[in-house]
Symmetry: C2
Subunit: 246 residues, 2 copies
DNA sequence: CTGTGCCAGATTGTATACAATATCGATTAT
DNA sequence: ATAATCGATATTGTATACAATCTGGCACAG
């Protein structure tokens, strides 16, 4: 006889919103990382047994991790055929950037109507202003640049306190990160970005929504162009690798 | 010894993008429906064994369905405690509507820059124009209204051919549908909506992006206000029900 | 009377085993 | 020689079984 035993979750703290069991979460994160890092190339077949051997786990946790990744849209699942790493072509990238643009334009507009925390303003200005005058000969670490850029955009988004929008942007960033890292970051690109970011902050501060939107559009457009170059390069490289193997 | 056997998926047709096995998909859709329909109230504990008995399936498919729903954000999962139907409070609804607004403003703006298919324009005008003059005494079926409204907005979104944006909007619509159905639809509301929809189409047709955005903002704002009333009513009703039971 | 520790029951997490299905290669017919 | 068909094999889908973990109450000490 079953008696009702479970009460509402005592974890009132919303620290971890989605908490699968540790093993599944570990597998899920590891696979996600490898997929985004192109360790498994697009179209690669993810066999369950193979992953079990690699990750030293049983099939059930692996299956659940794959199910989660399917839901995230990182792999395609075909009945009785298994999972395949989803193709990330130039078209998808374009669409991803458009979605990012849609969300961030909204954020910028709203911020221009309300206001911006002083500490965030100070922090981002302190970071980007020196980079207006970066020397053309100075080499730039792609990781540093991409991280700083992501931080800038996400910090703005977080101000409006909309978990759905923030989560969507975080997801988009993760998907684009490794391709962004594949393109070489020039000092000129850093200068341009710094200028655009500062202009966005200025526009928001003086409540000029239109200017903020215009500049953000230009900023994201530049980023998009760079990434699309990287995508096509990476795709041809992957194709060549596969051709060499086969 | 394992030899490489799997080739690229022969399903080149992208008919079903995410295709879990039929049983899991069935369970997943059924649970999703019940959650969105408030059959399982917010905070309700979804016991695996219990669901197995209800759905006449084993625990593995049920677990995978729950994992997928977790990833969709419909349930929260706590390790060794199971799944709980996620709270849908007024704040979440507000955020969901903001995200919808962000995406649709972008869609409207882009459509105003490009153009709109003639058949879509004709179809939607043919539907909404008569409803400008609906009699105040005529009763309105909520289902018909909500479906037509969703169709209008999604049809516009689909024109720009961005699968991520369309998918996000479809998801938001599904989440809000049952609450929208809970609020009574008055003839006055139908008239207002018809007017706004026609104005949006006109603005897009004459390439007036600003007017399109302004009207869309008003349109979604009206919808949001109605829904938030429904949400608070539904929540208090659910609380009363639970209090009566306990 | 109140607070702490422990135990029984139940539920979730994982592994193993078996059934269903698709793939690849060989064989056969045209 | 080419194309279609059938069977062996591997892979996925599901069920059952067992281990780990949590809940809630009861006993006992302060």
């Amino acid at each position: 006889m079953a008696r009702p035993r479970r009460s509402l979750p005592s974890h009132t703290k919303r620290a971890v919103v989605r908490a699968p069991s540790n093993l599944v979460l570990q597998i899920q994160l590891k696979l996600r990382e490898r997929i985004l890092a192109w360790h498994y190339p697009p179209g690669h077949h993810l066999g369950e047994q193979e992953l079990c051997d690699e990750l030293d786990a049983s099939r059930i946790p692996v299956r659940e991790a794959l199910r989660a990744l399917t839901e995230q849209g990182l792999v395609d699942q075909f009945p009785n055929r298994g999972c395949f790493v989803k193709q990330l072509d130039a078209q998808n990238t374009h669409a991803l950037y458009d979605m990012r643009l849609a969300l961030e334009l909204f954020v910028a507009e709203r911020l221009a109507r309300t206001s911006l925390p002083a500490d965030l303003l100070a922090r981002e200005r302190a970071f980007w202003e020196p980079r207006l005058h970066i020397k053309a000969s100075e080499p730039v670490e792609a990781m540093d640049f991409v991280t700083a850029d992501e931080t800038f955009h996400l910090s703005l988004a977080r101000v409006i306190e909309n978990p759905y929008i923030v989560e969507a942007l975080e997801d988009i960033n993760e998907r684009l990160r490794f391709v962004r890292l594949a393109v070489q970051t020039t000092p000129h690109r850093v200068q341009t970005t710094a200028g655009e970011h500062l202009m966005i902050l200025d526009a928001i501060e003086r409540k000029d929504a239109e200017a903020a939107r215009r500049t953000l559009r230009r900023n994201i457009s530049h980023s998009r162009n760079n990434v699309e170059i990287a995508i096509s390069r990476a795709l041809t490289a992957a194709q060549q690798t596969r051709a060499r193997k086969g």
